[in-house]
């Protein structure tokens, strides 16, 4: 397997002062050489899914082409190699998020499945009628609906922390929502629709004071910030591989070992058992208890390569460079009189949601597409949030470290075109 290891990391650190070489980073992503509508692709839909560096494509290809096999049971060499690579990826994830042990890393399909796992397993075990679950007004549907289903099943009640007009969580209001009935807090680390970086540290601290466990939806945080679950002291942390330059169909649920140990399985099947008889089945240890069936082996191995790649670039440098992009884009877009930026928090990742007077987000998206600019237009799976801001939809440009200021200029020119057309 190709691993841009510690030598690359060391070199990268040395280059920090010299600035980030975006041209070099772009060469790692073959899709960035593609043309759309005859124009160079400007990919600003990274919050939907990120692009894949060549090393991830090669790693997945290498597995499928040279040692494809099932894991954890074969005695033959391919299976041993596959198992080794799969479990190595788990260790990479462990170090990436600074989990205490690799058995605290559960591979799932994505953030959505991770949250559903907690709702079904932990939720049904611990949550009763009259109990309360606290979420925020800026949650993705995947951190709303699993809790609503749980509430329907148990008679528990969903409580929603309000947010400010800038798109920031109102912590004083949150504190009042934490009562003796609160059994769980589930909040988003970085908003997919607004870009807000939420003060999860403080949210966890306040919940912890009351003995309430916290789940953090980290889908949009992991590609942009260094996440340290130990320092955060969260109980569960969920993220998706495909948003952090890995394949789709693979994600991670981190959970504290003592919680995961006590939780019942989410799905039954192969690999999650120690022994099965018709009288009694003994469940496997962590993490296998939660990984029933043949997992997405290629995805897990690809995710490991993506993590190596991100470590090689360095999340600190990514954050610094992306902040420059955010400032540049915010200034350029704010200069357009008919634009309203939705989400103006102090702390943001490189993501800008906006509405244009008299031009529907879909039309903005279509016009931009004609200039090769890929953005997202819609409600971003955050319908309650759209309602909070009184808009049916927004246009969203979400940037990654391989994007450039020149690409932002293309975006701005295309927006002017839309204004002219509809003016």
């Amino acid at each position: 397997m190709t691993t841009p290891g510690s030598t690359t990391t060391a070199k990268v650190r040395k280059d920090l002062a010299a600035g980030f070489d975006v041209a070099k980073a772009r060469q790692d992503f073959p899709i960035l050489r593609e043309k759309v509508q005859g124009k160079p692709l400007v990919y600003f839909d990274n919050a939907a899914t990120s692009q894949k560096p060549q090393v991830v494509i090669d790693t997945v290809h290498e597995f499928l082409a040279t040692y494809n096999s099932n894991i954890h049971r074969g005695v033959h060499q391919l299976s041993e190699r596959g198992t080794e690579a799969y479990e190595q990826s788990r260790k990479k994830v462990q170090r990436f998020i600074n989990a205490a042990e690799s058995r605290e890393v559960i591979f799932v399909r994505g953030t959505t499945e991770a949250i559903n796992l907690v709702a079904n397993s932990y939720g049904r075990q611990h949550i009763r009628a009259g109990d309360e679950i606290v979420i925020s007004a800026m949650e993705h549907h995947s951190n709303i609906v699993p809790w609503q289903i749980l509430c329907e099943q148990t008679g528990a009640v969903l409580r929603v922390m309000p947010i400010s007009d800038a798109g920031e969580m109102l912590i004083d209001k949150y504190e009042k929502l934490l009562t003796s009935r609160t059994r769980l807090v589930a909040v988003v680390h970085v908003s997919n629709a607004l870009g807000t970086i939420n003060p999860v540290h403080e949210i966890i601290r306040l919940a912890r004071r009351q003995g309430v466990p916290v789940l953090v939806d980290g889908a949009q945080a992991v590609p942009h910030l260094k996440v340290d679950v130990h320092e955060l002291d969260c109980d569960f942390y969920a993220f998706s591989g495909h948003k952090v330059f890995g394949p789709t169909g693979i994600g991670v649920l981190y959970g504290k070992a003592e919680l995961l140990e006590a939780m019942p399985p989410y799905q039954g099947g192969g690999d999650m058992i120690k022994s099965v008889s018709f009288e009694k089945t003994v469940y496997n240890d962590l993490p296998y208890k939660f990984e029933a069936g043949t997992p997405h082996i290629a995805g897990v191995i690809g995710l490991g390569a993506a993590i190596d790649y991100v470590n090689g670039v360095g999340l600190d440098r990514i954050a610094t460079y992306e902040h420059g992009l955010l400032e540049y884009a915010t200034e350029a877009l704010s200069a357009i009189p008919s634009i309203r930026i939705i989400g103006t928090a102090e702390e943001k990742v490189s993501l800008i949601s906006f509405v244009l007077d008299g031009v529907h987000a879909h039309d903005v998206g279509t016009i931009l597409d004609h200039d090769g600019v890929a953005i997202r237009a819609g409600h971003h799976c955050t319908m309650p949030l759209m309602q909070r801001f009184g808009v049916p939809a927004t246009a969203r440009a979400s940037l990654a470290f391989y994007n450039t200021k020149e690409e932002i200029d293309v975006l701005v020119r295309a927006i002017h075109k839309a204004i002219e057309m509809f003016g």
Binding site: H360, H362, D363, I367, H370, H379, P392, M421, F422
Partner: protein, 129 residues
């Protein structure tokens, strides 16, 4: 691009015909496109198997708004039989712009609202659940 947002479409978007609501409609129906949050409501007053009057309201993109505007022009005063026979193909032809599969839903939302309202349909033919 200029094909897509032709003057014709933009004109219907900026100055939609039959925009508003009716006092005592015989048929009123509203639907949204959950994908993009577009919402269209159509009110109809019927008179002896004819559409005596029609109005629409809602919010949507240029395509869905223009389609609603064009549709109301087509059916105002028309016999119900004609309205019932008005097909998706006719709607797309009246729009006159090529639509991608995703934008097809925008182009057909108004027709869906009209037909669902008229027939009291729960589901739209050919649409997956």
């Amino acid at each position: 691009m200029d094909d897509f947002y032709r003057e014709f479409i933009l004109d219907h978007y900026k100055r939609p015909r039959n925009f508003g609501t009716l006092e005592n409609p015989d048929v009123t129906h509203e639907e949204d496109n959950p994908l993009c949050g577009d919402r269209i409501r159509i009110d109809l007053c019927l008179n002896e198997d004819r559409v005596a009057d029609v109005r629409f309201t809602g919010e949507g993109c240029a395509i869905s708004t223009a389609a609603a505007s064009i549709l109301t022009e087509k059916i105002k005063g028309a016999p119900l039989e004609r309205v019932k026979a008005f097909s998706m193909e006719e709607m797309l032809e009246a729009l006159g712009v090529p639509l991608s599969p995703i934008r097809l839903k925008c182009g057909l939302l108004a027709l869906k609202v009209l037909k669902t309202g008229l027939y009291g349909l729960k589901h739209w033919p050919g649409e997956e659940e």
